[in-house]
């Protein structure tokens, strides 16, 4: 009973890694108001996986994980650039969203019977992660944390006051794009564990709830960390007890916490 299965252990490590991304890059994405971006990247990842399988089937072996990373990076840069030109994140993400979804459907049609592998990314499963998955996740998350720690102040300045930042020689587009890159890579690794839909639940909702409850950036990040850990661990625990997939349960807990955050009196009104 007390011997945790290796799968549960990996799930727990994954939750910790996800929570670290949620409390850093996830929080800043909420500040930027670019949460839709997370869903956009998730679809690019789906397209990337399908394309990777397609290449492997018809041409030469190509690790699909690498392809998803390429797609995520490409879409993050494209959205960063489009935002710079049109000055509206929502529109640029929307266009990229449509583009990547079309690509995904196209490649999925071409890989026919193997499509289920790519579709697995839509659901994801915290309790089905391999040793290799967890290793890749850890490396990617360490990289994200490192870059976040180095550039957090400039990113925050760029999000809060792009013109003021620019006047100080801090290029806001550069740091916004860096944030998109961090989140994009984060989405790739997290999706394996929680799937395309719930990556949003664990990356964005904890930060959104945290923002409602706190006055400062650090407090928001800590709340996001706490909520994300609670949702992930809760999801795994309930899953072990019930046999239902953990990501769905984690998503439910995250949304529940968000609604609870409304109960706190005197929360800050956010325009």
């Amino acid at each position: 009973m007390f011997a945790l299965s290796i799968w549960v252990l990996r799930g727990i490590i994954a939750v910790i890694l996800i929570s670290l991304v949620a409390s850093t890059a996830g929080t800043f994405t909420v500040f930027k108001g670019a949460t839709f971006f997370v869903s956009g990247i998730a679809h690019a990842v789906l397209a990337g996986a399908a394309f990777g399988i397609f290449i492997t089937l018809y041409f030469f072996p190509f690790p699909e994980f690498l392809m998803t990373i390429f797609f995520a990076i490409f879409f993050a840069l494209a959205i960063g650039y489009a935002t710079h030109r049109s000055e509206n994140v929502d529109v640029s993400v929307g266009i990229m969203f449509a583009f990547s979804m079309s690509l995904a459907v196209l490649f999925l049609a071409m890989i026919k019977e193997y499509a289920s592998v790519a579709w697995g990314l839509i659901i994801g499963d915290l309790l089905l992660l391999s040793q290799e998955d967890v290793l890749w996740m850890s490396i990617a998350v360490l990289l994200i944390l490192l870059l976040f720690l180095i550039f957090r102040r400039k990113m925050l300045f760029s999000i809060f006051d792009p013109e003021g930042a620019e006047a100080m020689g801090v290029n806001p587009y550069l740091y916004e794009t860096l944030l998109y890159l961090l989140v994009g890579i984060g989405v790739v690794v997290i999706m394996k564990g929680v799937g395309a839909i719930l990556v949003y639940a664990l990356l964005i909702i904890p930060a959104a709830a945290g923002k409602r409850l706190s006055k400062g950036v650090l407090a928001t990040g800590l709340f996001a960390l706490l909520f994300s850990l609670l949702s992930g661990f809760g999801g795994i625990a309930l899953s072990v007890l019930s046999g239902i997939t953990p990501s769905a349960l984690a998503g439910l807990i995250a949304t529940f916490i968000y609604f609870l955050s409304y109960l706190k009196r005197g929360t800050v009104k956010v325009p």
Partner: protein, 248 residues
């Protein structure tokens, strides 16, 4: 000291500023007046070295890019993302943290700057919960915390009530003894006492000089494209036009 000679700024071929020439001593107080789209923000950004230009600009003897750390900039209010959960101290320290890092001296300078605008007791407050006028004062403190030799303010009075406006002007009045202040506004009326020079801008330079010489019925008509009546009484004159009330 700022010297501008034959300054022209284009955005993809579209001319935003055309052939401006003027010079300003240090320290002094310059007010820039002009209709929407006149190029006022463009001029400030050109001073900050953010926009390529033709002609010549010398700020304290150097090119704009070289004097960035001598200039403080307060952007137009509507450009700020006010949903970020920041404490007042975080807002004031932000530029210093980016350039210097978290040091004792930074905290001290931020505190002094906040005291200077009468917002010291809000040090730990949630920036989002402040009124528009209080936020403007925090921004002014943020600009001053870097101790710039010249301060560029883009419409600092938009969405502020009379009391805040007067409080900010009082601060600026005190600052102008040792700093050059360049302020973009749509209403020169409350600034009469501190203004040294006025620049009337509508892509081209319509006028530059002392308030009393520059604000004439003829110039105002050229500036806004509509007749702006001016009322003169003793040595003070008021111009009244739409929402513009100018008392040189």
């Amino acid at each position: 000291m700022i010297e501008v000679r034959n300054l022209t700024v284009k955005y993809d071929g579209h001319v935003a500023l055309e052939n401006l020439t003027f010079s300003l001593e240090h320290p002094s107080f310059l007010v820039i007046l002009g209709p929407n789209g006149a190029g006022k923000t463009t001029l400030l950004k050109t001073f900050l070295g953010l926009i390529p230009y033709e002609g010549e600009i010398r700020i304290f003897g150097k090119e704009p890019r070289e004097v960035r750390n001598l200039l403080g900039y307060m952007p137009q209010r509507d450009r700020i993302n006010r949903s970020v959960p920041l404490r007042v101290k975080d807002v004031v320290m932000m530029p210093l943290l980016v350039t210097i890092g978290l040091k004792k001296e930074v905290v001290k300078r931020a505190r002094e700057a906040l005291r200077g605008v009468g917002m010291e007791k809000y040090w730990n407050a949630d920036f989002r919960s402040l009124s528009g006028g209080q936020q403007q004062r925090v921004f002014l403190a943020r600009t001053l915390a870097r101790n710039p030799k010249a301060i560029l303010l883009d419409e600092p009075f938009s969405a502020t009530d009379v009391a805040t406006k007067m409080a900010v002007i009082k601060i600026l009045h005190r600052l102008k003894r040792e700093r050059t202040i360049i302020l973009v506004t749509h209403d020169v009326n409350p600034l009469v006492e501190c203004t040294d020079k006025v620049l009337l801008l509508n892509r081209k330079m319509i006028g530059f000089g002392r308030l009393i010489d520059v604000i004439t019925e003829e110039n105002m008509e050229r500036l806004y494209g509509t007749r702006v009546p001016i009322i003169r009484r003793e040595n003070v004159c008021y111009t009244v036009g739409g929402d513009i009330h100018v008392r040189p």
